[in-house]
Assembly symmetry: C2
Homo-oligomer: 447 residues x 2
């Protein structure tokens, strides 16, 4: 890793050159680099935490002056219980994942001594833009090296001292390995994000790690593909055939287990027939957890005989169904059918994760086929949308894109493939149908 | 299919709505739609060819006035021997391909009664912009319907009469099927390309079918992902260990079997040691086929005692190594090593298809790993880069993108996946490590 003061253009070109070397390193060399980083960070804990303390001091002053939120200060703190250990363990966890590079997904005999092979390979150069959490730099450097991608990292300015300390440690650790120095670069110069976003000749993929605003800004300002999602407006459609008690548990989980997460439910669509049967119990369970309900007229009327804490019941505005509240607020809307629910979700949702609660399997399959989202669930909490929970071992991000990777993205989202052909100089003009032409064999081979 | 005069925004929104219905049709319904199109076009041959004749008449006048190339006039002609039959057969060929929708590529048991599944599904709405060939409309409509994608088609104005005739036939054919009318729309209003390219809320992927200029223009003017390639600057690296006679045959094939194709070789890199041994025979074979060589000093000197037709040998300029000649012109450059060849290709190439000719397997593997192209070949003609030749049965295009699809793209390049979870309302908060927590099972299931 190098701490670069080069221009974004020079940094990106250097990363591109380094990416070719990194892409051809064997898994053992990439894993050794992760071990070297782990060892070096372990040995440098004191100096990194000292640098982090300087960031924290500035941030606390800014917070005291009302210029920074307390939440951000808290996210900055590398010394918080377990954070340092988690960061280090994360590096070893990434090392232990299956190598995503060099996987063969197709092998075809085109003719004798003429074989086609599709092999996974790194994408090239990643640009990773993140905000305050200093531990992200170790996580991201690990993911990039493991997947054979070069990376340019640009972190939030509040963590500058921590980033510099960590990157110097990583840099000297990598110098003992086969990973080229320019493969992982930290850009610390200010106000370079727009310039980085214009390096579409050298940078192949942008990965934002931060707020919706950051992601939206990046998507608006680059031609480079962006892996991620700006919004997480997830819905649950509660039908009259759902299990009353279990539905309440799952909706409470979807809303309250981490309200600020992108996979928390924001809109509850209630079938009209469920208003008087299942919905009051669900509302009561949510209210118990402090959730405020923003209701349409029908769902509000359905709660008229349910005793709820003051302030639980509010009238919904049209904007509520397009808002990611990220808090203990849930918009509720009455619909008459699964078709209406699907239409609402495809129109107002963010194509992230949506669930139907029903005992009717055919209705559930119809919902899952028609809802245009990365995750479509049947009787399941929207909070399942997560790379660790899916069993991917890590998560690069959650994508609402319609191409390449969708939903929680694991390491293989950082790869693409190339086609290799090994032949014996056969001229293509000899092949085809008809007299004197040689037919293609096109035999699928095992891999 | 509808022939729309709606605004691009309205057309795109209607296509999006139709895409949800189309996406959930079974393969049988999509195949029946293809058969209906085939039957209707067969029955309407005369009226379509009459419309095509009107386009041709205008085009011939324009060509006589020097406003249109003769090559374009020739491409317009649907009555040319075999073209009509090929167009119709192409529809049936697409019908017979394996269904790319609904393929399961991952199945994991997260817990008892909680199963994750990754299933392929259509991308959504395609925008296909093409130039003069009227038969493309049938091909593209078939590919879209087969893959369950809605499509907006915008063709070149020279084929307007043909497009309208074909689309009216397809439209009435589809009205007897389950494919919604707005799923395939032909836009005939003029000058709407830029407006279509700005519909990134409704359109998910742009597929240009036409000249480099068209592709480059589209890539420069949209935030929607574009599947395709602007340039095809393919190279062959000829080493001293290559088979002398076979190499000449394969290089002649790469250059001359279809010089205007994107997969034809444009630059020959010659190892210095091969200049006096293999290269003269290669040059003579190319010259026999009418190829003009643009040579650097060393390669030119190597031909001093080879008798070649007048005009075969020219001096290369630096621009020649960045030019896709698309004609019987080949740039030749001398390099001293595979490293130099790799660097040249990664710097000057278009990441399309590049080949090394060598008897050294280790050198070939190194080349294939380090060259950053969709196709990397060993002793094989660059002209192999083609969906039919790869055995995909069809070709949507050839992509030089670094994400989603790379190289010749078959039907599966028009799909993405969604994650389905079928559960029993389990709250996620109960899972994790530590006391009182329930561990994830994460068992891979067969599919």
């Amino acid at each position: 890793m190098s701490l670069t003061n080069d221009s974004p253009e020079v940094a990106a070109a250097a990363a591109k050159t380094a990416s070719f070397t990194l892409a051809s390193l064997p898994a053992s060399a990439r894993n050794e680099a992760l071990e070297a980083i782990h060892a070096a960070l372990t040995a440098s804990k004191d100096e990194i935490l000292a640098a982090n303390a300087r960031d924290l001091e500035l941030a606390r002053k800014a917070a005291a002056d009302g210029k920074l939120s307390q939440a951000l200060v808290s996210r900055l703190d590398l010394g918080k219980k377990g954070k340092w250990e988690d960061m280090l363990q994360g590096i070893l966890d990434v090392r232990d994942l299956e190598d995503p590079v060099g996987k063969v997904s197709l092998r075809t005999k085109l003719d004798d001594n003429l074989n086609l092979e599709r092999v996974s390979c790194p994408i090239g150069v990643l640009l990773i833009i993140f905000e305050a959490r200093p531990e992200v730099i170790a996580n991201i450097a690990s993911l990039a090296i493991k997947s054979g991608n070069a990376a340019i990292l640009k972190g939030g300015k509040e963590s500058t001292e921590s980033f510099i300390a960590i990157s110097q440690v990583i840099s000297s650790a990598l110098s003992t390995t086969q990973v080229p120095n320019s493969a992982i670069q930290l850009v610390t110069t200010r106000d370079v994000i727009l310039q980085l976003l214009s390096q579409d000749r050298s940078i192949d993929l942008v990965i934002p790690r931060g707020s919706n605003e950051l992601v939206r800004y990046i998507k608006e300002n680059t031609k480079i593909p962006v892996l991620g999602h700006a919004d997480g407006l997830c819905s649950i459609y509660l039908t009259a055939s759902a299990d009353k008690d279990k539905a309440a548990v799952a909706i409470v989980d979807s809303k309250t287990s981490y309200p600020a997460a992108c996979n928390s439910v924001e809109t509850l669509l209630v079938q009209d027939k469920a208003l008087s049967t299942i919905f009051p119990g669900v509302a009561a369970a949510l209210a118990l957890k402090g959730v405020t309900l923003r209701l349409d007229a029908a769902s509000k009327a359905a709660l008229s005989s349910t005793t709820l804490p003051d302030g639980t019941v509010l009238d919904a505005t049209p904007e509520d169904y397009d808002t990611e509240h990220l808090s203990l607020t849930l918009a509720v809307k009455t619909v008459s059918s699964v078709e209406e629910a699907i239409l609402h979700i495809n129109t107002h949702g963010s194509h992230h994760t949506d669930s139907i609660f029903t005992s009717d399997g055919a209705e559930a399959e119809h919902f899952m086929n028609q809802v245009d989202s990365a995750g479509v669930y049947w009787n399941a909490s929207t909070r399942l949308a997560d790379g660790m929970r899916y069993g991917f071992g890590t998560e690069v991000g959650i994508s609402t894109n319609k191409i390449h990777s969708r939903g929680p993205v694991g390491l293989d989202g950082l790869t693409i493939y190339k086609y290799k052909i090994r032949g014996d100089y056969q001229p293509t003009a000899q092949y085809g149908e008809g007299e004197g032409k040689r037919p293609w064999k096109h035999e699928r081979l095992a891999f």
